[in-house]
Symmetry: D3
Subunit: 192 residues, 6 copies
């Protein structure tokens, strides 16, 4: 009995049927990564939402920031784990391993970031990110003070908060569509 699930609860468009800008973005990713991450195909079911989603992603994940690229992926993995998001933990766990050049860090953060091999500054960053994910209504000045004491500027704090907020959306779209990560992600960045 096979139990492998499809990559989406919704119809998945063919590349050929997509608007040109979306097809081009997807082909560019494929060329760079060697495969098409399923999130592109699943969300392409709604072209306008696709465009806004990836514009948002670019705006927070590609910008200059006081956070390193690895730190931004730590936020994605920690908050996606808090939301039990299969796609995001697996896909961004792979990216985190690569950016951090560390084969262990993604699983550590996904299971329990409090026990991961991170700096005290990163611990405070993830405490805030997970609070943004789970109890955002309790954010107050004390959180800002705690982050500032670790050297984060107010713009850095916006970056942390904005990534956590965007993946609150992203995790929910993954749950809505039962989005399935590509098998390729599981093993990336684990090795020699």
């Amino acid at each position: 009995m096979t139990t492998e699930k499809p990559i989406s609860r919704y119809p998945v468009p063919q590349l050929a049927d997509l608007p040109q800008d979306i097809r081009e973005r997807i082909l560019a990713v494929q060329e760079k990564s060697g495969f098409i991450p399923n999130v592109f195909l699943v969300l392409a079911h709604r072209p306008d939402e696709f465009r806004a989603f990836f514009a948002y992603y670019d705006a927070i994940m590609l910008k200059d920031s006081g956070l390193s690229k690895a730190e931004r992926e730590m936020i994605v993995v920690a908050t996606s784990a808090a939301n039990d998001c299969h796609y995001c933990v697996v896909a961004h766990g792979a990216i985190l391993r690569i950016y951090a050049k560390d084969a262990l860090i993604a699983d550590q953060i996904a299971v329990n970031y409090r026990q991961a091999d991170i700096t005290p500054r990163q611990r405070v960053m993830l405490d805030f990110a997970v609070k943004m994910a789970q109890r955002p209504q309790e954010i107050d000045e004390e959180d800002f003070v705690r982050l500032q004491a670790q050297g984060f500027s107010d713009e850095d704090i916006w970056d942390i908060g904005s990534i956590a907020a965007f993946f609150a959306l992203s995790n929910r779209m993954a749950h809505l569509t039962a989005m399935r990560p590509n098998a390729a992600f599981y093993a990336m960045g684990r090795g020699a």
Copy 2:
């Protein structure tokens, strides 16, 4: 002692200092509404995120849908209330009163949508939206069956889920910035 809080924890840009496309969007809103809702000024602190945010908003809130405009605002109010989001409950409560031509519905849904004057179909819609807000990891086929039994198509369900997901982001940005609603929203649509 005055205790009135500012509209954002972050610097709020002057209209004159904003990129032209953003300034024009804001002026168009002002012309239509008679005032500038604070969310536009608060998020303009980050122009790229501003553009993606409102592109996403337009993609889900302005599109043709099996959901009426009032129903979409019900989803916003119910999920924003689940997240205790001051800005979104007050601002979208006002919009809901206007779309629904009902002075009571927004407060009813904000306090406890289970006791609001809504149809059984709308009750199932809001049960799903609030689950998307609070326990998205438990979404499964039974939720789809329950919605389909009320006549919602799979595309309608995407709409419900997508609005709930977007406001998961939006509520968190409001909490991050301590975004304050304009006083004008409180009284809109309440009266004679």
Copy 3:
């Protein structure tokens, strides 16, 4: 399709059928307010409970206190919101707007008292009241110390606690009976 719900799950007595003391109390309220708040009619289904309920209410809400009348209503609104109580948030929200002469304060407290335009002293008062509503078993000396540091006497603290305790009862009776607020409350005190 009308979806407006009745004011109670239980039979609602006619004024003429009520014991004289209860009828007189209700008529006095009607004369003062211009209408009969539904809580009087709904609870009159059980005269003995009605008498005890309003005797308790008078004992804590009308007494001299270190808390202003507006502050007492803040406690009612904050704890009733914590319990998602449709009747109490709407009815006491109206009373709070009137006592505080503030059109915005009730909605602010109902959605998220942490973001409301209140003083630091009122913030500590509401933190305690909401703890009484949600986690009373964790009340300890530190809570008293925190309140005393804001100038609250032990008798003031009893007042806060007693109001929160009484509305724990009141909210539950409203949920039991599916008590519906009068439409008149929604717009009261919202301004010119």
Copy 4:
């Protein structure tokens, strides 16, 4: 080192200093029970609240009802245990043992009513009472249907709900005052 705590965080009045009606009520209880349950002394600190409290108690606990006296005490013990209320579990546990003529039932219900030696009808009654204590905002028609299927009338359901609501108040006053049960209650009704 003695660690025994006082019976209240607040001053406890002398009998001689109390208003006559309150003193008489307390003396009557003492004559009947052989001792004065601490709740009378602790709440007598506020005479008006005392009168309303016991008037409410009498109205729901002494009335004719489709619930037996033992069943009413089961509701008190189960909901007070859900609220971790030291005074109410110990004092009403004693009363339950006596009414039920069962030395074991109170501890069973206090620890986990789902495993207690009760009838299926009593199980449904306690499920509802504990829901009233913990999640009253989710009470809906299905709860009524479930109770009616066990033979409870709507008036019986009011009784269950009203007892649970009153002890929501009572438990909170006990937590506010750190009310301590008389040592006599622990052993009552346990024996040969």
Copy 5:
């Protein structure tokens, strides 16, 4: 109608059918206590698990420790109450009363250890034990600092943690089997 439940959901072996080492252990307990606590009969359904279970129990409950025997039973009662475990609260409540020579302490800890007549040191011990029971993933160095400040050595902390961990298992086996305590436990140690 009798509603008394059996001592286990599973078959309960006859003493004569048990392996000799298990039978001898049980007979030794019976000789010492005057009756066979049901946990021995219920778990004997699986001899290998029985042997490991009681070897573990002996290793943590009979060893020399910086914790008194009464303190160890306090941990058992507090964590078992947190898990609503009928068998363990009743049986170990009895043992605690006997070790502590205190008729009231077990019920106090079972209902709300925060209000029990215990020392500040014991309060910190139980705070940690209950955290081990409910939120062990949040254990961190601050917990160790708090315990050390009360004079607990690191080995004492292992003892507290290990007892809480073992009863996390034990409570769950009791829930799995619907294990029923012997009637004899309820009255033991309650005084003259």
Copy 6:
């Protein structure tokens, strides 16, 4: 700055200093696995507890069962993930990949077993195991009926429950000691 944490908060014994039976067990594991899993070294700090722990482990994990070895490891991974247990998720995730000959299954179950590639029967098994981990006090006959409907015998259900109960203990010992998994586990069984 190195941030790698030690394998235990407690002293880790040298093999040479351990009692002979424990040293031999550890050497046997080392010979079979090629390395010593840290749990053996960390728990050897307490030889009597070590012996009982592994006797229990053997009694439930090595016995004949209606559950396959892979299914038993699924239970370990799902419940350890529910407890955010770094050691157990990583170490038993590795074992699960090997037993199941599936490089993806462990991460799927660790993040969200509801979305994993498992059979409906395994889904019901894990629902029960996670309930044992998180809400064991709510286990009732309906859970047994649901499991029996999938073909599980009562002895199989004991096996599921007993594994979940043992890892409730094991996860807590890992949290108490801040137990760190060997780096070797992360990559095991991930494929060619």
